[in-house]
Amino acid sequence: MPKVLIIDDSAVMRKIIQRNIQQSGLIVDEFVEAGDGREGLEKATSHNIDLILCDWNMPNMTGIDFVKALRGSGQKNNVPIVMVTTEGSEAKVEEAKNSGANGYLTKPFTPEQLKSKLGNFLLVK
């Protein structure tokens, strides 16, 4: 069953994302949370994760550094990463994709926008 890792330094945002996914009908068995890229990297490699949602601006290790580190490690290459961030410039979107992110969603977002973006990676009930 799908396990989703949410990496965001805001606990409130992690809760909002979880709630929106649960209410969307997307099938998720378990959520794993991390407060920065470093913790995200540890959890991404130690848990059997199926999808990663990642913020950009975070303390200790940013989201883009997390993406580069995970993709550079050669581990979990098949696990999709969707950036969920306030960074919305074309240059940032391009940088994320070039670094190995598979999707991009800018905050703020509606529940429908989140569902549409994650529907590429999760099944709907």
Binding site: S10, T86, A91, P108
Partner: protein
């Protein structure tokens, strides 16, 4: 572009970003008025959510609101009635400030090149005022201190019968 007209343009971006945020994730009514320059001595607030940005231009975007309004925003975002001013409420205000500043930054980046956002800082108290002093010989260009006597360009909003303001400080960076 002159700094004054640029500030006016950014103020419109702040209004748009705030409207979008309230329409998508906060789902509360929102009214707003024209922005005006406000001297720091006129600012009295309970909560300040600050995000600074650096690049060709640097500055601060800050949310000023009452504790009651901060509780209302956090309760709405979390879909649970919060009555105590917990770290969750500060987190929510930080995220609100971050989403407004992030959207403004995206528009600025398109016009003026890449800029960098700070992680939000939330300051909470009662009847807080702001005074930026500039009498120290070593003053970083990216702190509030460099704005010393500059007024804030303040956009007033009303939501849920509560007033709140979003302020902007802006300077061109040294080349």
């Amino acid at each position: 572009m002159a700094l004054e007209s640029m500030m006016e343009s950014i103020s419109l971006d702040i209004t748009d970003a705030t409207k979008t945020l309230f329409e998508t994730m906060i789902m509360m009514d929102l009214k707003y008025d024209e922005a005006s320059l406000v001297d720091d001595t006129q600012i009295k607030t309970d909560i300040i959510g600050l995000v600074s940005f650096t690049g060709k231009y640097h500055g601060v975007i800050a949310l000023f609101c009452s504790k009651k309004f901060a509780l209302k925003i956090a309760s709405t975002m979390l879909m649970t009635e919060l009555t105590e001013f917990t770290s969750e409420v500060k987190d929510a205000i930080g995220e609100v400030s971050n989403m407004i500043a992030g959207n403004v930054k995206t528009k600025l980046t398109a016009q003026y090149g890449e800029m960098h956002l700070s992680i939000p800082i939330v300051i909470a108290g009662e009847g807080l005022s702001i005074t930026a002093v500039n009498n120290h010989p070593v003053v970083s260009d990216t702190t509030l201190s460099c704005f010393s006597k500059d007024p804030w360009l303040m956009t007033p909003f009303i939501s849920n019968n509560e007033k709140f303001n979003i302020g902007l400080l802006l300077k061109e960076s040294n080349k």
